[in-house]
């Protein structure tokens, strides 16, 4: 076979491009899943949450989360009538109003509320899978990253456990795993969503207060929901590009 100089000039760059992908290997385990076709987030419908703690328990079971640590947790807020009728007054002690409790992350539910005054609501929290996440930016070794489908993940074989990211997360969603000594966090059940399943917390939620959302899927009901409801994200002033959307979120939620 004789290759002319012209053919050689065309073949060489092509081979170089192909060699890149040979070296890179194949990370995608699920054959029909294409990372470029998804952009994951979650919708939390606050008026539907009853604070049963099913999501917290399901997450612990699914992801082997150690006791006392949480990839997701539920907080209960109680705003007094006074604070709601005087919204212009900055509460002197934010530890008193709103009153926020989260006994063991809400894993076993919440104590019965007897004080009927004021306003109660539950706020399930988890990693916001920020599009411009502060936590991935501070990692000194490239062990945490935003995947091409918009999920903030930790490469635990690469993580040093320096806990920079734990400090950087404005939502308190990361922790150092007590046995592995590396950063651990919500993966948005990456092993499930890449196989067409929903996350464990969404699967276990009895009221549909948590819904997985694929923002790149034009058929996903999230798009209509975002247009027709008053939806907010946590700490919007930090410009994190959070992708966990809260419906009917009270202004006192921090």
């Amino acid at each position: 076979m004789k290759i002319t100089r012209r053919q050689m000039l065309i073949l060489l760059p092509a081979a170089a491009v192909a060699w890149e992908s040979v070296l890179a290997g194949t990370p995608e385990d699920s054959p029909n899943y294409k990372m470029t076709e998804h952009w994951w987030g979650m919708l939390i419908d606050i008026p539907k949450c009853i604070g049963c703690g099913n999501c917290v328990r399901a997450c612990q079971t699914e992801n082997d989360v150690p006791d006392g640590y949480f990839r997701t947790w539920v907080e209960r807020y109680h705003r007094s009538d006074w604070s709601m009728s005087n919204p212009e007054v900055v509460t002197a002690n934010p530890l008193i109003d709103p009153e926020v409790i989260s006994p063991d992350g809400g894993k076993e539910g919440f104590p019965v509320a007897t004080d009927k005054s004021g306003k109660y609501f539950f706020v399930p929290k988890l990693c916001n899978h920020c599009a411009d996440s502060p936590c991935t930016q501070v990692c000194p070794v490239g062990a945490t990253f935003i995947s091409p489908d918009g999920v903030v993940l930790v490469d635990q074989t690469y993580c040093l456990g320096c806990a920079y990211c734990v400090q950087a997360c404005p939502y308190g969603c990361r922790y150092i795993h007590p046995e592995k000594k590396v950063a651990d966090k919500c993966t948005l059940c990456y092993h499930r969503i890449t196989k067409g399943l929903t996350t464990a917390c969404c699967e276990a939620c009895p009221t549909g207060a948590r819904q997985l959302a694929d923002l790149k899927d034009p058929k996903d009901p999230i798009h209509e929901f975002l247009k027709t409801h008053s939806v907010q994200i946590l700490k919007p002033q930090m410009a994190t590009g959070a992708k966990v959307f809260y419906n009917d979120l009270d202004g006192s939620v921090r």
Binding site: L23, A24, G25, T26, P27, E28, D29, S30, M35, P47, K48, C49, I50, G51, C52, G53, N54, A58, T61, E62, N63, R76, H78, G109, F110, V112, A113, T114, D115, K116, Y120, F121, F122, G142, A143, T144, F145, I146, S147, P148, L153, D155, T157, Y158, T187, C189, Y190, H191, R192, T194, K195, L197, T198, A200, E203, A204, C205, P206, T207, G208
Partner: protein
């Protein structure tokens, strides 16, 4: 050639630099994982490793593929949108090989009150009872069938 007079030591020094750079390239080749930088400043293969974590919740579609009769009972009831594993727990093991594990029937006395205990903190529209007032000594399942929890007066549902 007076320019290169007495410059041998400079070339030897430059040669050392070139050698050190080559050593750096070789070490780097072996130390940096192959997939590092594939998608960004991280190990691309980590994505596949995280995706390989085994699931423990099978998902309601999997349950329904065998237990279609439960779906028929559920679909018109109040619990139509409550997924199987919300009450029955994680059952991927059972779904993989039904003979390997028989799910334990949840105790309705524990299960139902977890959601339906009355509390001022719960949304007003959510059905709630004060267990002490409502409880008659019988398990919830005696009157309410969990898959379709309307009152089971005739005992046939």
């Amino acid at each position: 050639m007076s320019v290169f007079k007495d410059t041998g030591h400079l070339f030897r020094f430059a040669g050392l630099f070139v050698l050190a750079f080559l050593v750096f390239l070789v070490v780097r080749h072996y130390v940096v994982p192959k997939s590092f930088g594939q998608y960004g400043h991280y190990r691309g293969a980590a994505i596949g490793e995280i995706a390989a974590h085994p699931a423990k919740y099978a998902g309601h579609e999997t349950c329904e593929s065998c237990h279609a009769e439960v779906l028929d009972v559920k679909k018109n009831g109040k619990h139509a949108h409550v997924n199987c594993e919300a009450c029955h727990g994680a059952l991927e093991k059972h779904a993989d090989d039904p003979s390997s594990m028989t799910p334990v029937l949840p105790d309705t006395a524990v299960l139902c009150v977890r959601c339906h205990t009355a509390s001022a903190a719960k949304p007003k529209g959510f059905p709630q009872v004060v267990p002490e007032d409502h409880y008659t000594g019988l398990a919830c399942g005696t009157c309410h069938k969990p898959h379709s929890p309307a009152m089971d007066v005739g005992g046939t549902k």
